[in-house]
Point group: none
Chain length 140, copies 4
């Protein structure tokens, strides 16, 4: 097995394009949001808290993005008996709240987006709008 | 009662042997894992995050190892009404997620192993493979 | 190299004997103290906050005990340029404040004691009184 | 600018090879060490605490690895007036203690290694031995 491998990485240009698309969608919906975009390692790449978005959603949106990037799938799918355990064992970095989607390009997870301040369904709608802005990204 | 007693301790050689066995088993299963091994005092002895394992499992695997070493038994056996309370009171160091097993040699707990990123059953299977590599260690 | 080795461990009886000796010495000196005793893994074994001892010394005494157990030597010997860096990198668990001594029996470090609330010299005097109560322990 | 770019990543095989080389070197030197290896995002990839290594060095070694990966250079080069400020602002994740080196392959930083429990120079020597085990990695 080799010491290093080639992999795909989300650029800041890609992350900012996602952010712009998410803000635009939220404005169209009339629902202010917190939007967090992380890389595949769950580190923050881009963020916007829109006017009027809930201040505690800064944290929930970021946790949603981290969880989606880590698990390589949408948040909200963890069985109920495990969701609190996962949140506790990760110091709150994992969350099962709806509104987190992975950024999957060419079958490879390159990051995650988390949206929070609306209903779970509104959050997912905004996250999907952001994904639609990334060339080749899967939507959910 | 005497001021000091003789006790048994897991060596780094033993811990690295466990790590290698766990990585090998995970590769054979085709399931990348985070694997944490701690001593009887719940301090980290050895760790590997395999390619593609969930980044948030770094923390859950470590919490599983700490919990198994502390309780001297497999994780996942705490009654539901207590599991979140235990996680909260320990700042997330305790977890009831499956995948943590104690390292028991000659009836004495010398450490714990925690595996995370697969299903609970896959995690336990890898942890048991690691225990099988330690001379005289009990499996579960 | 074998998977496990035999080692020496401080008992709770030994730790409580140290605690009693330290409290007695502090009473004789007329200086109330916080006294923390940890095992070789820096986990708390015994503790007393005496009437009138400083509340924040709960933490400094514990950090002194942890540091002495970890470094297997008295606290206060780290070069000035490194002491803050060590404190920061360990989340405050390391400290270079005087008043921490290792518990060394038969040439083997089995724990540490930290005393805080007096002057550095008073703290060391109390710690040494505690060590003198342990069979075979080195004093400083 | 494109949304994603190709990049290089340290594998767990590469990280475990580094770990084995570092443990071997430490054994040859007769100085037990804590050794932490992180990826380019400062997340833990591999770890070993050797028998007799300082327990608080678990944290300092990890902070050194994170700092080297983040700054893409050896630790210990930050000007004195900034080193504590950096440690404070990062919650102790940054450290200027010597003993952290970046893993640079083909001019690209793919991770970091941190070694702690010896003197700064011993720590660097072990880190370099680990780097020498990685195909194409720069040493310092």
């Amino acid at each position: 097995m080799s010491d290093t491998v080639s992999t795909l990485k989300l650029t800041h240009a890609g992350a900012l394009k996602m952010l712009a698309a998410a803000v635009k969608k939220s404005e169209d919906m009339g629902v202010p949001q917190c939007i967090a975009i992380v890389d595949e390692s769950a580190n923050l790449l881009a963020f916007s808290r829109m006017d009027g978005a809930k201040v505690l959603s800064i944290e929930t949106a970021t946790a949603k993005a981290r969880t989606a990037a880590s698990s390589k799938g949408p948040t909200g799918k963890t069985p109920p008996h495990a969701e609190n355990l996962m949140g506790l064992a990760t110091g709150g970095r994992f969350t099962n709240l709806k509104g987190g989607l992975p950024v999957i390009v060419d079958g490879k997870c390159v990051g995650g987006i988390g949206v929070g301040s609306g209903t779970g369904d509104q959050d997912v709608e905004v996250a999907n709008a952001a994904l639609a802005a990334v060339k080749g990204a899967q939507t959910f």
